[in-house]
Symmetry: C2
């Protein structure tokens, strides 16, 4: 059996951690009887600085031939924040309509959490983040003075009609940002989460801020309620995003599956990453069940460690396990996760986790472990 | 010396905790030589259900005669989420242009935090939340089918121009929400935070998501940078909101003053409340330095405990301490906070904090303590 998978190392530590991850996945393939044909794509800051290209038509055509992409990280000190993130990472998510961002929050055995009196039995849930809408649609504008008088007037009008205030009409410089939620967009993410909940503990929490951002999240809640009708066995609950950050820290054991719009998903999954031991251990999948999906560590490119062979590859290897699951290699996926757990218990880890091993050493160790564990 | 202060007990446990708080503030006045003339306003769910009134013109005229409001809580199971919050709480914040939401995050001696290995010396910072702009402006709309074809087309156009996608043009039902940041609005909050930082440890962290919501938070960052030029002694830093939730949990000792737009402020101050021991201990001030300010516990109205005399009044009493600070009674404010600390060390607390005392008992105990502590 052969699987064709695209790989984008990207910037900073990206290429090193993806290299380690590939070794582990290849080794898993040897054991479980499949072979991965990797196709590398040169996308990232270096190319951008040389050519101005972020994600080209050709990249898209090339990537669209795969149903899985293994992604390292992008981000570089020489480029203004936002350019690479939006031009590459978000562009891939949107272009391939990867409408699910799947984030397991699971404290592995032997990993330290910053929470007092919580262990692996307390921290084991999954966040389903809607990944193509909300405030990530990139619609907004910014202007000063008379330049864009017309748009300015429109916004001012809405503003003063809503609040009966004149305060804002004097604003000399103003920016606005628009978030969009559609029924279809919310529904497919929510349905995915219900299916996942039905296969797990039948408990689903929806996170929003419908008491203040009532238009977008009012629609989100209505869709949730409509979809829920089809899953009478799943216990459901609405939480406000501010409150949920408290419960993640105080009672993580309350959660099993959490579904949330894009922006709040971004926030609460980082918090989730920290309670599961930090970014070195947090993988994510950007999923289009009928298209091209992408698996990545959720941390950044850590430019200052580039080439030093010190970065923790575990989040990337775990993302590789998710990739294997996605392409149907469930046994191999489980073995990769077991190998990660074993390497942690063996103390065979990088500096950030209290060890002294190199990125490549951890990769090789996992590649060996995965053949027997 | 007499101070005139408005009081709004509100819903659920609100009236009980405000009553306890008033007792403590009155006692502090006896010791420090001032007297508070309280004027109660009947605003909340009961009146809304009886008359349909949320915040009336008369309420506003009445409240505008005070420079401080002592606020309990609003929210009631008989009313749809959002109605009272927006119609009363947010309406007061906006109408009185209370542009600062001030939230001390301080772990008091004797209070348990859910974080491992962190104590009062690690958790002691202040969040300055901008309180009148951003996604709280309440601008948005929701529509289905052909009803509002024109607006729908506009949003669809922007959507497809930005992403070159046709996917969204088929949306049958769609909602959008607009956030607004003005230079003036951002500047006054940021300047307040710099002044506070200059008076504390000269360290200020700005929290945003400028890498994705680049229009509103790009302006926010530029304003921050402009204001920073006037405070060369203050060390500054930008954090993304997703990352900051991690550092609050992992390294709260890194923070001294944090400034952030409204919505992210809502989220991170709840997280902050939890690391300082939970909502029972989290006060907030809604401040207009030249107008009518409002002080409140940041928790809700807990309708099911209404009238049972079991609610924890400490957050409200602490909010009272902030109120005293605001009206210039600094010594009294400090004494109230000392009384809170003493009552905790004495174990004279309500059930949620592991004690067995009633709301009113804690109030009376604090009123006694504040005369000598
Ligand atoms: C890098 C950034 C654009 C991205 C996001 O905001 O989605 C990241 O934080 C994530 O969660 O994958
Ligand atoms: C009740 C709600 C509208 C309010 C807010 O979102 O600001 C609350 O969460 C707060 O932080 O004061």
């Amino acid at each position: 059996m052969q699987h064709r998978v695209a790989a984008i190392g990207g910037d900073g530590i990206g290429p090193e951690i993806v290299a380690a991850g590939k070794d582990v996945l290849d080794a898993a393939g040897e054991r479980f009887g499949f072979d991965i044909a990797w196709t590398d794509f040169d996308i990232g800051a270096d190319r951008y600085l040389a050519t101005g290209d972020l994600l080209t038509e050709e990249d898209i055509r090339g990537l669209s031939k795969f149903n899985a992409i293994y992604f390292g990280a992008i981000g570089d000190d020489r480029v203004k924040p936002g350019i690479l993130e939006k031009g590459i990472l978000l562009a891939i998510r949107f272009h391939f309509d990867q409408f699910i961002n799947l984030r397991p929050i699971k404290l592995l055995d032997g990993v330290a959490t910053p929470l007092a009196n919580k262990g692996p039995q307390d921290i084991d849930f999954v966040v389903v983040r809607e990944n193509t809408e909300d405030f990530y649609v990139g619609i907004g504008s910014r202007f000063a003075g008379r330049r864009e008088q017309k748009t300015l007037d429109v916004v001012r009008d809405i503003y003063s009609v809503r609040f009966g205030l004149d305060v804002e009409t004097d604003a000399e410089e103003l920016a606005y940002q628009i978030g969009v939620v559609t029924r279809e967009g919310a529904e497919r993410a929510i349905r995915y989460a219900f299916d996942l909940a039905a296969a797990r503990e039948k408990k689903l929490t929806s996170v929003d801020k419908a008491n203040v951002l009532s238009d977008v999240y009012g629609l989100w809640r209505d869709v949730f309620t409509d979809v829920a009708a089809g899953y009478p066995d799943v216990k459901t609950e609405f939480n406000f995003v501010d409150a949920v950050t408290m419960w993640f820290v105080k009672n993580p054991e309350w959660f099993d599956v959490v579904v949330t719009p894009n922006m709040f998903g971004d926030i609460i999954t980082d918090l989730g990453a920290m309670i599961q031991g930090g970014l070195g251990l947090a993988p994510g999948g950007n999923i289009n069940p009928n298209g091209t999906s992408m698996f990545e560590p959720i941390h950044g490119s850590a430019p200052k460690y580039r080439g030093l062979d010190v970065a923790n590859p575990l989040a990337t290897v775990w993302a590789g396990s998710m990739l294997l699951d996605h392409i149907g290699e469930h046994e191999a996926a489980a073995a990769v996760l077991r190998a990660i757990e074993r390497s942690i218990l063996d103390g065979f880890v990088t500096r950030d986790m209290g060890g002294a091993k190199k990125t490549s050493e951890v990769g090789r160790y996992l590649a060996t472990l995965v053949k027997t564990v």
